[in-house]
Symmetry: none
DNA sequence: TGGTAATCGAGACGGTACGTCCCGTCTTAAG
DNA sequence: CTTAAGACGGGACGTACCGTCTCGATTACCA
């Protein structure tokens, strides 16, 4: 029987070590920044052999993609507040909280940095970050179209990228908090542009 | 006058070495990326002592800010094409050329990366990149207002950042070429939003 | 009696694995030398778990003492050729064959090496190598005394060590083959010194 | 002119570091044995970067060959005591002192060990150890021949190796001190064999 | 004849040291 | 005083094995 021959040996990883590494990595990156966090130091802080890290993650970036994944709350989705402006504002508040309260911002900017010399990582980053964000934004836009607030979107992904670009630009220049003024302006611009002739 | 008293002995820097370093740095960063370009290697490639580099630039970032400055053409300004859409498109085309034809994109993303763990660099980056860009965008918007295309901008800097954020997002995810579709959508979004009710 | 009470459960060791380990060890040490032969590699080559090796041998040295023991022929004894010169020559020929045809030389030199930082191993090595050799040489000398070829030895062990020292010196400097000239000279020297006044 | 073009850049090594490394290596090898002395530890003990060691010595063996060379006194030569027995005894006493008072014995046995898997080192060892020893023994024998104590040697090198073999055998089995009994027997055996028919 | 305990292969684990790469500083000799 | 050259102390890299440990699966004795 095929199943009986199944040779796939499921490598068994220690949950204790696995968790300790992720925790230590998150703690250290918050304290010293992505670039200044050494694998060696993470291993020591986690009470783990270096090889244990290299066994399960091919490099620092892969490790931190997992750490990042753990920090983003599962329920980071499009809350339905009844209006598109409210939905977007809710999303921005959640992101602000994520970047201010957790090392997610440090990790994300570090990963973006590293992706500059690692095309494979750039792709992973798309999968892990850009794609999920587009899904959320798309659902917000679809809901708004259903409500009749906006016309159906021709290209919701571009809208999402514009949104993400604005947030990244802030984040990468060191401002983690997305304050009320920024949120208002961004939502406003997305809805009706920065340069329309008439007033609001 | 203060300047006249200035006792600063004009340190004699070798123009030959100075140029060789900048040239070697530009060549190497294009070939191997910012993070993988070692000072040591630049010195060797330029036929220059390491100390000579450290004498004139405090660190790698400072060196590459100067390299970046040399790559950006002096005449990268707001060309007056007669319409705001044309002006913005012209700017985007110039940026696309810059990132595709020169290592400016590699340098910029590398500097952004490094700024994540170096607040001083983040400030320098603002001065060297964000501020000039805001000036250009502001002049475009002012011209458009004069023409009556748009109402006077309440916050041209925010508009500039939104514009830059969109370009960075692309650049940092690995797409250096700003194609016609992207340019059209970005300009469109800036002018009238991604979610306006009526069609154009 | 103590032995009768001995509760030691005769541990069941797999003869298949035992043999595979010894065989793999012998093969690898011949190919890569003692110091470069890792336990890990032996286990893999033998298709055996590392633990199985550590279960039955406390360390690498113990394993190779057993391998060495298997390589030395049971009948490596003092052949009676009718003369002391013949007996010694026969012994030297057997040793030469052992070191040239089998990895015994690599193992012996490796064990000597390891014994330098392991006094317990040095003792084991005496038991496993020096003692048996002394017995053989002693029997050769006694036979020669009986024949009247030499006077009874005051210190046959010293003679044996001198003999072994000469062979080790060669072996350790990389010459495994004990050629005719070497054998003749060594026997000659043992019988009548290197510096006697008269000729042979 | 040829001399003017002479490009040979004589690399300059820091005498301070050089000496510190040799000293630390000698101290550590005496305390922990050759095999248990790590390059890393030597560097730390000498207050030196690891690279500095690797820059000047290709490997641990090369470093310890130099350390060994420093330990052997320059005046370790054939003292003329008036008789061959006296000369050899003097040499043995000097060797005993060397192996008992300094880590030379640990180093030598460690080097012999390492040479087992490094043919190049085996050659170096010949140059650094075997050859000088042969020169000394040869001069002792020549002097003895001149005195008429022995007949001119057909093969002084073999005599030297027999001598060295006996000393190594002892050294490698852990006995560093060459006591009076050993010395007497070895000299005796060299002069007239271990198995001569008549008494002395 | 079925239960159970030791042994098996596999390989993850915490560690130590390896030899290499660069960092940013210091030293030298030539101009 | 600057320069090219490159040695220096140092920190981290990613790899190789160490000897111990944990996991099912297999095996062979004993009830």
């Amino acid at each position: 029987m095929v199943a009986a021959l199944s040779p796939a040996p499921p490598r068994r990883r220690s949950p204790r070590s696995h968790a300790a590494v992720l925790k230590a990595a998150a703690r250290l990156v918050g304290r010293r920044g992505y670039a200044n966090t050494a694998i060696e130091e993470i291993a020591a802080a986690a009470g783990v052999g270096k090889q244990t890290i290299y066994r399960w993650w091919p490099n620092k970036a892969a490790l931190f993609i997992e750490v990042y994944g753990q920090l983003v709350p599962r329920d980071l989705v499009a809350e339905d507040t009844g209006s598109i402006a409210g939905d977007l504002d809710s999303l921005l508040r959640q992101l602000s909280r994520l970047y201010v309260d957790t090392p997610a911002g440090s990790i994300l900017s570090g990963l973006i940095a590293e992706a500059q010399t690692d095309p494979a990582l750039a792709l992973q980053l798309s999968d892990a970050y850009v794609a999920p964000r587009r899904i959320i934004v798309r659902s917000i836009l679809e809901r708004a179209a259903t409500r009749g607030e906006i016309r159906p979107q021709a290209d919701p992904d571009f809208a999402s990228d514009l949104f993400s670009g604005a947030v990244w630009f802030r984040l990468l220049l060191g401002k983690r908090h997305l304050d009320a003024k920024f949120r208002r302006r961004l939502i406003d611009a997305l809805l009706s542009g920065v340069a329309r002739r008439g007033g609001r």
